[in-house]
């Protein structure tokens, strides 16, 4: 069975570009990344694509397939039989070349989240049912597809006002840790821009790790912000959390 499939891959860089068509022989179980590699090895050595594990563990190969943010390594070509497969880089970030976009904004944003903070030393005493909730957030592979699809970043380019879904998940991971002592609610209410999110759930829809970003991270965090800033009744009874951690002053640089 030597069926062929037609890929239409975006070729270009900062100065512009266009989709170029390539025909690739289909093999059983082939994923889009396999086809891109085939093109690379046989037709266009300089076709840029970012990838690492090809097993949906690393989250390097996020791109947009027929307009949907997806991992190239986890998207089967037999889902697209009879169609032309259009592959484009993530649109929310500046392009470097072809399918590779410059995701450095995410790494800069990551540094704004204060480090994990404990008031006791390991070994920690925690029950499995205590950690189940945060372990969901630890599934994140940082593919940034949620950032790519988030309309706050994508359509409104409000990168200076909102950290994006990935970092709401990260903050939730620290905030809801059973023993973590930092209070990240002020960060959420102000710098992180949680109120820029209007809970339209696209991040949840595209998450290849099936993290229920909106329901389990963003909305509970919004409720915690409401607890602290919008609930006069609770304000009467509230105990203050110990500390409000901050990111380091000498923020390290990330290049490349």
């Amino acid at each position: 069975m030597s069926e062929d499939i037609v890929l239409s891959i975006y070729r270009g860089d900062k100065s512009g570009g266009e989709e170029v068509r390539y025909t690739v022989p289909l093999t059983p179980g082939m994923v889009v990344l396999d086809a891109v590699h085939y093109v690379q090895a046989h037709e266009a050595q300089d076709l840029a694509v970012r990838w690492n594990c090809k097993a949906a563990h690393c989250g390097s190969c996020g791109a947009e397939i027929n307009g949907r943010p997806k991992l190239l390594c986890k998207t089967r070509l037999d889902d697209y039989q009879g169609q032309v497969v259009h592959i484009q880089p993530m649109q929310t970030f500046p392009i470097i070349k072809d399918l590779v976009s410059d995701v450095s904004w995410n790494y800069e944003t990551a540094k704004k989240i204060p480090a994990f903070q404990l008031s006791q030393s390991a070994p920690l005493q925690m029950q499995q049912f205590d950690v189940d909730r945060v372990q969901e957030f630890h599934h994140c592979i940082e593919c940034f597809l949620c950032q790519d699809t988030c309309h706050v970043l994508r359509d409104h380019d409000a990168k200076d006002q909102y950290f994006g879904p990935r970092f709401m998940v990260k903050i939730a991971e620290f905030e809801m840790h059973p023993r973590e002592t930092g209070d990240r609610v002020p960060l959420l209410a102000k710098q992180a821009g949680l109120d820029m999110c209007n809970v339209t759930k696209c991040c949840t829809e595209v998450c290849p790790q099936h993290i229920r970003i909106t329901d389990n991270a963003i909305i509970p965090l919004k409720e915690r912000v409401a607890d602290q800033y919008w609930d006069p009744l609770r304000a009467l009874f509230r105990r203050k959390k110990t500390t409000t951690p901050t990111a380091p002053d000498s923020a390290p640089t990330i290049r490349g």
Binding site: Q40, Q45, K54, H57, Y107, P123, Q125, V131, H138, P252
Partner: protein, 588 residues
């Protein structure tokens, strides 16, 4: 002087870490004390390194579920599975320090699965005497890497992403002085000057066709160090993981965690026989990796393989809920990539190249190599695993020796007043070499050379080896190396994978030759190294490690002898903890 050199971007650090995987990050975290500048270079984005592919767990003898476990037993298991060509001192420090290093992660935000008492849960794994692997479902490596990543960015460490190092540079006295590299995104060169370098670049599993390794595992660090004059040891020892995916072709080799067997999965051949009962009646599916991989291989050779040439792995008896909770990644992987629901049906597995036990020879205490100022940790180093690595030991290795390499490099850098000087001519020559492929039109295609290399390795230096086969393979590698001098590329310097592949292929070819030479020298079968012309493990061969270097070729070096108190641990023929548990059983 060329304009390229005149405009060269340059950075100076006290400690430079090459490799942003687990070991590299751990080293950087350790070295980044106030007043010391630390840089870390990664070939990929931060947090994407091959460490994320480690699934099953990190081995540390807490004894949270089996209270008889202790460092002695971990040490015993490691040495025994390594068939006693490991460096005992490396294994001893390792077994001692692993629990401490894992707990540290918990303090930095890692969240391990818990026991009913609320401690860190530990799961059984092949050839570990006790349930020992701390884990988070089946994505332990990712947890470890992510934790270290966020720890690192909270410290004063300068991080360079998607930067490839092409050469390690020494000063006139032979000390490490820096590295020349280029940004993958722009193709522009960048020079790093430094007092000390920690090499933490991982292994070279990508040298084989069927492999569980990600693209980065091309042995850059190994080749860089070798070319700079470092000693490489145990190069013949390449681990084949018993269970990789087999079908469909696109995912062939993708890892199926040992956790599947750890959590109770059984292996069957095409006749429905649970064949591990025959090969290792005592440890069965949880025998060491070399044994299980060889058993599957033999079954397939004997015509009892599955339709696509593997064995059946079956965990359905554990029930869907258990499987989805303990092995969510495996469930998802098979469902999306192979249309197989592992909660309902058995699935095909076959051995896949997984880990390179050999590598840069480094000291146990500081990870120092024979080149002053060069330190090595993680998969690129060697000595801990001997002839066969235990599952879960690599993650613990990253932590223990990542930290020690960071400390070693820090101490060394503080003992040096000035950053050593580099000969500008050397830099210029290297820049010319790196740019050369652009001027070769109609040259060899680096991607196709890589494919040929993988074929040669799989056919001649795979799971089953023999003298004549190895000779033939080595000759082929030499021929391919000659052809590879003519690799040419098209396009610009901006994110050009073809260009990047040229250096990957060069590194892999250099290491491939070392694997063949090591394998030819080791005229016996030991651990992962199985030679049909020398099918037995020979005590006289067990006294030697084979060390290779650019200057001295290949030489035999005696395996370090354990002091008496450690040797005594092996006298009973059973692990110290197991013995203790039996004694206790007798008393009651």
């Amino acid at each position: 002087m060329s304009t390229q050199f005149a405009t060269l971007e340059s950075h100076t650090f006290d400690v430079l870490v090459i490799g942003s995987g687990g070991a590299g990050l751990r080293a950087a975290v350790q070295a980044a004390v106030p007043g010391v500048s630390v840089g870390i270079i990664g070939k990929s984005l931060l947090g994407k390194a091959h460490t994320v592919m480690a699934e099953g767990g990190v081995a540390a003898s807490f004894g949270n579920v089996d209270r008889w476990d202790g460092w002695e037993t971990h040490f015993y298991d490691t040495m025994r599975s390594g068939h006693f060509i490991n460096d005992y001192r490396i294994a001893e420090i390792f077994a001692h320090e692993a629990p401490e290093r894992v707990l540290e992660l918990e303090e930095w935000g890692a969240v391990f699965d818990r026991t009913p008492e609320g401690k860190i849960m530990q799961r059984p794994f092949g050839a570990h005497s006790f349930r020992r692997l701390a884990h988070i479902g089946d994505r332990t490596g990712m947890e470890l890497l992510r934790t270290l990543q966020y720890k690192a960015i909270s410290q004063d460490i300068e991080i360079f992403q998607e930067v490839t190092v092409t050469k390690l540079l020494k000063d006139a006295a032979g000390r490490m002085a820096g590295a020349l590299a280029y940004y993958r995104s722009t193709g522009e060169f960048v020079l790093f000057r430094t007092k000390a370098i920690v090499l933490a670049t991982g292994g070279w599993g990508k040298i084989y066709k069927v492999t569980s390794n990600s693209w980065e595992s091309t042995g850059d660090g190994g080749a860089l160090a070798y070319r700079a004059g470092a000693e490489m040891m145990d190069m013949e020892m390449v681990q084949f993981h018993p269970t990789g995916m087999v079908w469909p072709p696109g995912v062939r080799g993708l890892l199926v965690t040992e956790g599947v067997r750890g959590e109770g999965g059984f292996l069957y051949n095409s006749e429905g026989e649970r064949f591990m009962l025959r090969y290792d009646p005592e440890r069965k599916e949880l025998s060491s990796r070399d044994v299980v991989a060889r058993s599957i291989y033999k079954e397939v050779q004997a015509g009892r393989g599955t339709p696509h040439g593997g064995a059946w792995l079956d965990i359905t008896h554990k029930g869907p809920e258990f499987i989805k909770r303990k092995l969510p990644g495996m469930y998802e992987q098979y469902l999306t990539l192979a249309d197989v629901d592992i909660t309902k049906e058995k699935f095909e597995v076959a051995p896949t190249c997984h880990y390179t036990m050999g590598g840069v020879r480094a000291e146990a205490e500081t990870c120092a190599t024979n080149i002053p100022g060069l330190f090595a940790a993680g998969e690129v180093a060697c000595g801990l695993h001997g002839a066969n690595r235990l599952g879960g030991n690599s993650l613990a290795d990253l932590l223990v020796y990542g930290k020690r390499a960071g400390e070693g490099a820090l101490a060394y850098s503080q003992s040096i007043a000035e950053v050593p000087t580099i000969d500008p001519q050397e830099i210029e020559a290297e820049m010319e070499r790196v740019m050369a492929p652009f001027s070769i039109t109609h040259g060899e295609n680096p991607f196709l050379i890589h494919e040929e290399l993988q074929d040669i390795m799989s056919n001649h230096a795979g799971i089953m080896r023999s003298g004549p086969d190895l000779e033939e393979g080595l000759a082929k590698i030499q021929a391919l190396t000659e052809r590879s001098a003519n690799m040419g590329i098209t396009g610009s310097r901006v994110y050009n994978p073809g260009w990047h592949a040229v250096f990957d292929v060069q590194s892999m070819l250099a290491l491939a030759a070392l694997i063949f030479r090591g394998a030819l020298a080791r005229k016996e079968s030991r651990g992962a190294h199985w030679r049909t012309d020398y099918p037995d493990e020979l005590p006289e061969m067990g006294q030697w490690n084979f060390v290779q270097s650019v200057d001295a070729g290949i030489k035999e070096v005696p395996v370090p002898q354990m002091p008496e108190e450690l040797a005594r641990l092996f006298e009973r023929g059973m692990a110290p903890g197991v013995w203790k548990s039996q004694q206790e059983g007798k008393e009651n």
